[in-house]
Amino acid sequence: MTDPVAPPEGLEDEDDLRFQRRLWRVQRVAWVVGGLVVMAALLGGTGRGLLSRGRATEPSGLLRVEYDRFPRREAPTTIRVGVAAGVGHQGRVVVYFDRRYFDGVDLDEVTPQPLAVEAAADRLSFVLGVPDPSDSTTFLFRFSPARVGPQAVRIGLSPPSAPPAERGASTGSTAPVDRAPAAELRFTQFIYP
């Protein structure tokens, strides 16, 4: 295959077939690699797709999240937080995120809009309304990742503090048997540049 080929006679410029063959081989390999990358991307290996679809459910089933395993920097990504039926206290639930998560991402939007956002040392809590506690609800958190690389996420449900207006007035005895348990989920996202 690598037979030495004499340069064509009469041509001022000599060709280099051996070099050309090596170049062709490199090209072939590059095409195959490129094709594989495109295939992987089609499957979601670089974001949005089968491989990128992440799901997690808390063992008790009260909290479940759907997220992108491979979001991209500066591209919107959504974490869907589902809360089971019956969870909530006086028409509200509190979903919290690990505060460190917000070092790596910008929060663009929460749908529906939270009633309040409370900051604590280690977490950011979103007080969200659940008009019908007998039904499960999903909240959408839209982020734009700002950092690249693996990013740990911790999402949980925490028992809501009594709404400010009622604080101290009634001591919860009048409320129906609401459940406001604590539940937490952890997962990791990998953010592409």
Binding site: G34, V38, G47, G49, E74
Partner: protein, 162 residues
């Protein structure tokens, strides 16, 4: 996933559009054609990039388009029908000094275009000096001069051009 799909859709749409528009459309790029290409690329870019301005997205779009091009080139070699559909077939426009007007009209080429190609490529002056003029698959016009005209001492300029 949607990055690859978006890029592939735009590739297919553009390929179809340019094929349907005809080969002379951008065969010889004029300044206006060049401006048109810029505007088209600007419009297409929105559809392909969407709201994702990441490096990954950009690289993936480029990689998808190039991969599709390589695959199409391979498929064209493999399947002749596809080759003809995508790249078209050569079309004879002038036969032994006689312009085939119907074909020229259909291909949106006029005699001036053929004469210009004859002057540029062969240094010919008149239609009857052309043996064959062919609209090639890439949109260029190739000209083969009449044999006898080379022996004609009156055609000194074309001799010099050779």
């Amino acid at each position: 996933m949607d990055t690859v799909v978006r890029a592939a859709v735009m590739y297919a749409v553009l390929l179809t559009l340019f094929r349907v528009a005809g080969r002379r459309t951008l065969g010889e790029i004029s300044t206006f054609d060049f401006a048109l290409v810029l505007v088209i690329s600007e419009a297409v870019q929105q559809a392909m990039v969407g709201s994702d301005f990441s490096i990954t997205n950009a690289l993936l779009i480029v990689l998808t388009l190039i991969t599709l091009d390589v695959v199409l080139a391979y498929a064209k070699r493999r399947f002749q029908t596809l080759d003809r559909v995508v790249d078209g077939v050569p079309l004879v426009l002038v036969e032994r000094g006689r312009p085939l007007r119907e074909r020229m009209r259909a291909a949106r080429v006029d005699e001036d275009d053929v004469l210009a190609a004859a002057r540029l490529g062969q240094g010919l002056e008149r239609m009857e000096q052309i043996r064959y003029a062919v609209l090639e698959r890439d949109g260029k016009i190739s000209v083969i001069p009449q044999r006898d005209h080379m022996d004609d001492p009156a055609d000194a300029p074309s001799e010099a051009a050779r």
